[in-house]
């Protein structure tokens, strides 16, 4: 592989906080998974020891992330930076809830 292409497998990590009152319940989990699925990068969310697939609603629900909980978001792949930025914005907006 030419040198120029090794940078394609990017990784982007960020710490996100659940800010909305109701926490990361089913609708926000659906919004996160829907958004994550737009990217080719692998996306994981981690809460302490537990790591889940950011593209799976059922797995995101396992985090039981209430208001104030911090999660580590990692995107790995060609569009990792874009995925990271978009997901960080969604968390920062509180999933467009109060």
């Amino acid at each position: 592989m030419p040198d120029g292409e090794t940078s394609l497998a990017k990784e982007c990590a960020a710490r996100v906080t659940v800010v909305n009152r109701l926490g990361l319940h089913a609708r926000p989990a659906t919004a996160v998974a829907d958004l994550a699925q737009n990217f080719t990068s692998a996306i994981t969310l981690r809460r302490e020891g537990q790591e889940v697939d950011g593209k799976s609603i059922m797995q995101i629900m396992l985090l039981a992330a209430t208001q104030g909980v911090e999660l580590d978001l990692v995107a790995k792949g060609e569009d990792a930076d874009e995925a990271c930025r978009a997901l960080c914005e969604l968390f920062a907006r509180g999933f467009d809830e109060e």
Partner: protein
């Protein structure tokens, strides 16, 4: 102390064979089962059904793999409770994977405790995410079979 499925599910509201062939009927049947089991207030029956259906219209809780988790947080609910319904023939829930739903867990939560609601969802999804649990639930022929399965899941006796 970790929340368990058997803490949430009202045993009397476990329906091994739903009569309903459609989503709205299934939701009514399960809310009615909770009312009959004394786990939900009859006075709020219509409001609860309407609220669960309204939530479903905002986005299907058929999350794939033949399971659906219709739910609502409602002021008419004093204590969190859940019903389980099994459909032998499958129900169209407009599921994310467009497949029929065979197992439904309907969760009613008070509207003032989002933490407990999330913990209950975690417990429910932990079981539904387990392939063995899903298969056994789909095959369970009686209420007793389902209650035993819940107990086994609570005690982590299921493989996978």
């Amino acid at each position: 102390m970790a929340l368990k499925l058997t803490d949430i599910v009202a045993p009397g509201a476990v329906v091994a064979e739903l009569n309903a062939a459609e989503r709205d009927e299934a939701i009514q049947e399960l809310v009615d089962a909770l009312v009959e089991a004394g786990a939900a207030n009859a006075e709020h029956r219509d409001a609860l059904v309407a609220a669960v259906l309204e939530r479903e219209r905002k986005g299907s809780t058929g999350f794939g793999r033949g399971v659906a988790v219709p739910h609502v947080k409602h002021p008419g609910v004093t204590k969190m409770t859940a019903a389980i319904g099994r459909s032998p023939h499958g129900i169209d829930f407009s599921a994310l994977d467009r497949q029929p739903v065979y197992s439904i867990v309907l969760l009613l939560s008070p509207d003032n405790n989002p933490e407990d609601h999330l913990r209950a969802m975690e417990v429910i999804f932990k079981s539904l995410g387990n392939e063995t649990f899903r298969r056994f639930l789909r095959q369970a022929a009686t209420r007793q079979d389902i209650l035993e399965l819940l107990n086994e899941a609570d005690h982590q006796k299921l493989p996978g």
